[in-house]
């Protein structure tokens, strides 16, 4: 179930939902894409109404917070993307710029996609989400 965030108007959530659908349509390897608040709530998802999206949202926010803490400990500046590669596919967690509260996009894709292309397409999706959320 989507989180009714006080920081995201219903029309913005609906627009984000459409952008995720367009992202998945143009990138067939995408199995799941979830727009997530930094405190672990699902704000929009493709496919919609998938129970696992809530868990992916919580887990991806934890991982992103951990990766940021790790980057700080290593004296690196802002952690940008998190990439998990498995035998069957790839998980990306990408932070969205200039969103308040901060949001991220979690992407689960099959291994049919080249990692570089998946990153490029996912970053483009983040940009269009950022534009839509700032509008």
């Amino acid at each position: 179930m989507m989180h009714d965030s006080p920081y995201l108007k219903p029309e913005a959530a609906a627009a984000a939902q459409r952008q995720l659908e367009a992202f998945a349509a143009s990138t067939p390897s995408i199995a799941l894409a979830v727009l997530t608040s930094s405190d672990g709530f699902e704000l929009a998802a493709y496919p919609a109404q998938l129970a696992v999206a809530q868990r992916i949202a919580a887990m991806s926010s934890s991982l992103q917070a951990l990766s940021e803490a790790l980057a700080r400990e290593a004296s690196l500046s802002n952690s940008r993307d998190l990439i998990i590669e498995s035998d069957d596919g790839t998980i990306l967690v990408l932070g969205l710029a200039n969103t308040a509260p901060r949001m991220s996009l979690a992407v689960v894709a099959s291994n049919k996609e080249n990692l570089g292309h998946l990153l490029w397409a996912s970053r483009n999706c983040c940009k269009s989400l950022e534009s839509g959320l700032q509008a």
């Binding site: 405190d39 672990g40 934890s62 917070a65």
Partner: protein, 186 residues
């Protein structure tokens, strides 16, 4: 007793119970924090919330390093609870006495974490205990008794280093007693 060189203790409890504050009160170095802005003000009014873990460390007088891990409090982060409890020698459960769900929280967390740390000692720290009550901790002790759990309960202010140290020292005392007392099987 041979003193282990490293010990792991986990702080848990519901959102807003003071886990991050408690670890910050006793850690020798600034703790690793994964706090982000809390967007769920229905659950709690606080500004920030932990989404992965807190991590601090303190050195005991005998040279033992105690690693302090704090869990997120919300159910949606429960996947972190089992991960963080791996290898822990004990659990400190913090409860906010002013919460409307304080006793339910205690029961729920005790039941859940007994699955992750079934044999490890447990110490309860109750924060924001109302002044003037004759037995302010009694209702929490009754919950533990009804669950068949033997664990000490303390009223604490997690902002105070000595209060948090009391919880740690009690946990270590229980552990030491268990090691020194031969069991029936021995």
């Amino acid at each position: 007793m041979n003193t282990p060189q490293e010990l792991k203790i986990v702080f848990t409890g519901p959102m807003g119970a003071g886990k991050t504050t408690a670890i910050g009160a006793i850690s020798d170095a600034p703790p690793v924090s994964t706090e982000v802005r809390n967007t769920d003000r229905h659950a709690h009014s606080k500004e920030l919330t932990t989404v992965a873990l807190d991590f601090g460390q303190m050195l005991l007088e005998d040279g033992t390093a105690v690693r302090l891990y704090g869990t997120p409090g919300q159910q949606r982060f429960s996947f972190m609870w089992e991960i963080l409890c791996r290898g822990a020698i004990g659990l400190i459960l913090l409860i906010d006495a002013t919460s409307a769900t304080a006793t339910e929280d205690l029961r729920s967390f005790v039941e859940t974490f007994q699955r992750f740390t079934p044999d490890q000692p447990l110490v309860i720290g109750v924060g924001r205990v109302p002044q003037g009550e004759s037995e302010p901790l009694e209702r929490f002790e009754q919950v533990l008794a009804s669950e068949g759990v033997l664990a000490p309960v303390f009223g604490v202010d997690v902002r105070k280093r000595d209060d948090v140290l009391l919880l740690i020292e009690t946990l270590l005392c229980i552990l030491e007693t268990r090691i020194e007392e031969p069991t029936d099987d021995a």
